[in-house]
Symmetry: D3
Subunit: 210 residues, 6 copies
Amino acid sequence: MFLTILFTFALLFSSSHALQQDFCVADLSLSDTPSGYPCKKPSTVTVDDFVFSGLGVAGNTSNLIKAAVNLAFVAQFPGFNGLGLSMGRLDLAVDGVIPLHTHPEGSEVILVIEGTIRAGFISASTNVVYFKTLNKGDIMVFPQGLLHFQINSGKIPALAFVSLSSANPGIQVTGSALFANDLPTEVVAKVTFLDIAEVKKLKGILGGTN
Amino acid sequence: MFLTILFTFALLFSSSHALQQDFCVADLSLSDTPSGYPCKKPSTVTVDDFVFSGLGVAGNTSNLIKAAVNLAFVAQFPGFNGLGLSMGRLDLAVDGVIPLHTHPEGSEVILVIEGTIRAGFISASTNVVYFKTLNKGDIMVFPQGLLHFQINSGKIPALAFVSLSSANPGIQVTGSALFANDLPTEVVAKVTFLDIAEVKKLKGILGGTN
Amino acid sequence: MFLTILFTFALLFSSSHALQQDFCVADLSLSDTPSGYPCKKPSTVTVDDFVFSGLGVAGNTSNLIKAAVNLAFVAQFPGFNGLGLSMGRLDLAVDGVIPLHTHPEGSEVILVIEGTIRAGFISASTNVVYFKTLNKGDIMVFPQGLLHFQINSGKIPALAFVSLSSANPGIQVTGSALFANDLPTEVVAKVTFLDIAEVKKLKGILGGTN
Amino acid sequence: MFLTILFTFALLFSSSHALQQDFCVADLSLSDTPSGYPCKKPSTVTVDDFVFSGLGVAGNTSNLIKAAVNLAFVAQFPGFNGLGLSMGRLDLAVDGVIPLHTHPEGSEVILVIEGTIRAGFISASTNVVYFKTLNKGDIMVFPQGLLHFQINSGKIPALAFVSLSSANPGIQVTGSALFANDLPTEVVAKVTFLDIAEVKKLKGILGGTN
Amino acid sequence: MFLTILFTFALLFSSSHALQQDFCVADLSLSDTPSGYPCKKPSTVTVDDFVFSGLGVAGNTSNLIKAAVNLAFVAQFPGFNGLGLSMGRLDLAVDGVIPLHTHPEGSEVILVIEGTIRAGFISASTNVVYFKTLNKGDIMVFPQGLLHFQINSGKIPALAFVSLSSANPGIQVTGSALFANDLPTEVVAKVTFLDIAEVKKLKGILGGTN
Amino acid sequence: MFLTILFTFALLFSSSHALQQDFCVADLSLSDTPSGYPCKKPSTVTVDDFVFSGLGVAGNTSNLIKAAVNLAFVAQFPGFNGLGLSMGRLDLAVDGVIPLHTHPEGSEVILVIEGTIRAGFISASTNVVYFKTLNKGDIMVFPQGLLHFQINSGKIPALAFVSLSSANPGIQVTGSALFANDLPTEVVAKVTFLDIAEVKKLKGILGGTN
């Protein structure tokens, strides 16, 4: 019954690339563009391009922040390319913290699966802090580009998943941006009003120079 | 130190609404627009506008699909307004199914928390089915507007959370669209090639008329 | 008079690709991107890249749906690339039907040129059907991603043209998506509530397997 | 079967405006926004909000340009609001012309239904003219914001329909912009290099002053 | 000549709001939306809605940062609404500094008019610093959401103007976000790794509490 | 302290292209796309990709318009790619003029640095002229795609800088579009209502043919 109409479509689409527009799995071997990566040839796409298991594994929290972040951005999961979505997994040991950071290119929502997390973000125009303790099953949004953080405020390890509104939202960790590069100490002090000694100390810890 | 610059900002922003642009919590009492709802006055916004607990509660699966869907779209969680994100919770009892549906306005990613789920979507241009069994911790994407479904394929109840790339992505359940309204039986049959008897039977079950 | 300013521009634009931004005719030999195809070199573009005659030819309606669809999407007409537009021609013999389908990536407007067409779409959130008989010169919109259909309800052949809000809006024909692939019969039945026998029958007709 | 899931949706959507997001018929009584007009209450929307018959009527070409333009932009057809589409009807008597103009907010495609039309647009960066005679059934695209025109080049009246990539693309007719307002004659001459006498003559014809 | 076509337009546009779409001057008395403010009635718009003189006045740099920022965002200049642009004026006395900050909603370009400015931004993914001394006439871009700063590195006062890619890009000054609100000292320390004493000192200077 | 989290990121990002998303400096050697040029490899990007000095040089105004335009669009300054911004410098000698033109792809804001400039734009729907004399420090916006112009109305040379809301907004100079190409004289006359003699004269001056 549909054979003819299907044939018509097939004919019209023959030697076309229209299939790619149902989805656009990233071909990471090609140059990125402002809208995302060029698409992998649809004939080579399989269901495994749309499924990712990397978030099923707990991160190693044996570190000084007692936390780990596992990402499923377009670089890790090319199936997100062009779809305006990405994800991440947060493992926080007791006293674990996800340090202050922003996502320059996307908004975030966090879902608490286990434990208790104190999370907050800071308004840009008023510096008001929106800060609350989240329990299992709670979700909280962090608007695009605003500083935010998460802290395990409970007595057991916490597990949470985050979803973001871009396939590649970026992460700028304030501490790393200030203290893990070669930005001269006096410049860091001047633009942040921190003491020189404090800046030097943190550069030492984070491997910054100058 | 910052007092002066802060004062300068305050002065410039006085009697302005610029604060609203950090975020735009929906005022559902006003008319929606193509870009989302008008913003609630920022002075009335609290942290509770950014936190939602409705997904922490299991849905009632004592029904014929043995499944329940809990939504956190802008209508349920106004904090999502303008941020390009929404969420949902899927509870699937043993043999439960989320029937065939699309999200006209957004792409989706599913995260399996408990159990085993067979999920799939269908390509528009080729009708190819991308279909796989997902285990705990797996994520899978469903590109915008494409038909997809989820089935509990395990021996225990399944729990999953979905995130979508719009604050109000919509849900069109194919069965409800065909059999739960007053679209005349002969029209349904003509545009779907189903038998009249089959259409009448499903209209009876779903409360459709004509 | 303008010679100097023109020269200035020429100088500044020398060895630049800025010309491409007036338009971006698709180079279908390159990989698609989330925003569309890379642009053909402007020096090779002629007026024929902006003109398409394929919709001037009636489609063959000697088939079981008594209808034909001719597309002018980016794959057929590369001049649409990046412009947010595409078109199609619908020929419906007496009793012809364009089966239930969606366009995942675009909204549609239909213009009736000859005959009488019953057209409708179904709301996602309420399942309300918006359904009307269109006469010559009438236009009707079908919002993005919503199920819709067209039926020749007159006594003469009908001709209509559709315009869509994307260069590659896609077409998902519900019947083909369900019955023209290898999605297992029991899965189709489970996600649609159709009888196994009905599914098998339609798979037979449409060439589906499993 | 679906009753429960439907009930669940209904419950969640109660007292929500989520229905509006399937579509957003313009409420022209409210202030426009950068994304379009606020939406009419969905409960008051009927199929007639999605159907427009104004393009079925031929325009009166008994005028000096021997042509008429009928618009179906959001102001005439509120159903287009938010959908990224609009339309227009062009009637050109023998020797009729649609004068040089641009659409600041959208691209256009023209479809010739009757007669023969010479149409063209001018590239911005190179001033190259893309100019061709179109016959019945031909379509031609005019990229956003570029100067274009249409002339009846046949021996019979011509009829064409245009579709545009915005619900409100705007129309700037160059001649009207220069000669139908109070922009001082010497300014018009200075910015166009036309003779004062020519400017005065055309202001007289078009009702311009100063 | 154009009278008829003009009349036709007038007729079609009568009692419409289509004029508003040429521009959308913000009506700050109405609620903002995700796409910007609703538009002022076009009949009340004058040329003064499109002109702003507030950047012509030097800011007062007699403060501890020896700098001043004057904004022309939508709140100060409603004519920018919906146009994807805003501006600001930077006055930096000798040794003046614009502290570390981000614009969550837009990219920035700076133009140096007088003096010498050391400006830089920090990459999110690699923490690489892009840092250079700018002279009169130089421009430099700061991509959306990335931390950046400007310092007067010359022996005379510096003047610069910035343009941003949003009518309301926002400004988040890192120091103010951390030290000018009631975010508890131990939380600030925990998410930034600063010493408690340092946090208390800066809170004292900036008026923060807790 | 951050070393571990940094290491985690590094690990996840290894062999990824995620760095490119902080910015996307144009690789002009590759084909443009509807969203802009593909990105230069981030490892080859230096601060000089984000700084441009070409606007620091006065243009040569010894020409018939007594004005010069220097552009910093993506073709001249690849650092703007994907950021939604571009700039230009206008030098106007006494009596200099920037002729009537549009930017098909972007809105513009002008900032007067020296002298006095009469600037204006013309509304599309109403042909109303928004026209004013700008002094040093004034800014004025020109909405996307609308005809506008600038004239030195003072007794000294004028200098201004413009910013636009696209990396490649385009420039269509009305006079050049009409009189600097091979569009037949009778066609130009027919679509503009100018006299044949006037068209021929201007074609002669601007180098047009036919």
